[in-house]
């Protein structure tokens, strides 16, 4: 129904040209206008990106690792970016993909946590709730053809239960006792599975650290968008802690012996 009397006419003269004019007069449109409709753009590709995130369950909880690099294409643009973030008292998320979208997600979840805190109803959000919320947001955004360009691992411990799950820009979710995003899903995940699966209740903190460090090292050797600085988040029944930046010790002397590439002549 057109509620503007000035637009009313009998017969509807947008369909019937009573005076034989040409072209047919357009009825003025007085509905809501979006002056920027032509200018709205949706995310088509990530710009400043983070690479893999690794995670595993172990005896006392869940551990995540991610390096400190945010790349601009193939340029190692920002080398001190934290890609792990504590959300509330029981959860850590780690993100690969677009870092500005990740910052948006951090602000969104922080607001969510504050809303829950100010309710003072004795309830807190655990990793399962945060993962579900994130998954709904990610799927809603992909359905608007405007995804948040991330692959995110959500890990945590609440009420004595370990939780580890994945969600990405499409809203796809899955869980396992060890997970990896991005390049790590190809290179590190097979190693992680061998090391972790079946031993989730046996591995202690030190062993879990070792496995993650080893996997990060392999990724640094193989992944050209990675860096040798990384952080580890540990979530246990006691709470959340995110480590200082650690350095990976690597040796590249083997490169001398590589034949078949570049300028050497055997």
């Amino acid at each position: 129904m057109d509620h503007f009397p000035t637009n009313w006419g009998r017969p509807r003269n947008d369909a019937y040209d009573a005076y034989g004019t040409y072209p047919i007069a357009q009825r003025p449109y007085n509905g809501p206008k979006d002056a920027f409709a032509q200018g709205i753009q949706h995310t088509q590709q990530p710009i400043v990106t983070g690479t893999s995130v690794l995670a595993l369950k172990y005896k006392d909880g869940v551990m995540l690792a991610a390096d400190n690099l945010a790349s601009y294409g193939s340029l190692a643009r920002f080398k001190d970016i934290q890609r792990l973030q504590a959300i509330g008292a029981h959860t850590v998320i780690g993100a690969g993909g677009d870092m500005s979208d990740f910052q948006y997600i951090q602000a969104m979840l922080d607001e969510l946590i504050i809303d829950e805190f100010t309710a003072q109803d004795g309830h807190t959000l655990g990793p399962a709730e945060i993962h579900e919320y994130l998954a709904q947001v990610m799927y809603a955004r992909r359905s608007k053809m405007n995804p948040l360009w991330n692959a995110i691992l959500v890990g945590g411990v609440k009420d004595g239960k370990r939780f580890l799950s994945f969600v990405d820009l499409l809203g796809t979710t899955y869980s396992a006792s060890t997970l990896a995003t991005g390049y790590g899903a190809h290179i590190a995940l097979p190693l992680l599975r061998t090391a972790v699966e079946g031993k989730e209740d046996i591995l202690n903190e030190e062993e879990a650290h070792k496995i993650l460090e080893q996997s990060m090292k392999v990724l640094y050797y193989r992944d050209a968008r990675s860096i040798d600085k990384y952080q580890v988040a540990t979530i246990t029944a006691e709470g959340v802690s995110i480590s200082e930046t650690r350095h990976l010790e690597t040796s590249w002397s083997f490169a001398e012996g590589i034949r078949g590439y570049g300028a050497q002549t055997q």
């Binding site: 602000a107 922080d110 607001e111 504050i114 809303d115 805190f117 100010t118 309710a119 003072q120």
Partner: protein, 247 residues
Amino acid sequence: MTSIGTGYDLSASTYSPDGRIFQVEYANKAVENSGTAIGLRVKDGIVLAVEKLVHSKLLVPGVNRRIQTIDRHIGLATAGLLADGRHLSNRARDEAANYRDQYRQPPPLKSVADRLGLYIQAYTLYSSVRPFGISTILGAVDKDGPALYVVEPSGVFFGYNGAAVGKGRQLAKTELEKLKLSELSTREAVIEAARIIYLVHDDAKEKDFELEITWIGDETGGLHLPVPKDLQAEAEAAAKAALETFE
């Protein structure tokens, strides 16, 4: 009251000939009928305490809270109409969230008090609305340390070291003035706050009351939280003991 029958008190958008807005003054009366609320700004934090009058023995204990959390670091205690207090705390939460969204940092209490003052003042301008029957004590530990404000039904707000609103505010203010607030720790302030609330409670007139105490400071990691059960019990026991010696 001289204002009644003159016709100048029928709307908040009409001044009396001597420049007063009676509806705002009536709103203050609504505050004066409510159980006392106090706030203490001390060395390392803030303590808020409320004498919550329990009008029925059938009420579930701990229900109808009068101290609300606005942000991680901000608490709000109200005296006046309960429902107005809840509306106001919701508004304060929105303002705090909006500040965070715009400036990406925790809101300083002054900004929240300022915005809440503007909101309350708008309700003194129109004949179609009624001013808030609420005086609210806002407390926080922000980037500049502990802060305490009181926003009145007129929309004005002032900063305080110690604040009291509601029925027993006169006696409470006298007691607050005796304290060396800048030298007290939050833990000591909790004991004092409980004592003052127990002191101002008028056993003869009012039935039961519940004591609500919250704090913000180093002990809570900068969060606005109810004081732990054992400390509350300790404070109430000390308050009752002090009451014996006071009389």
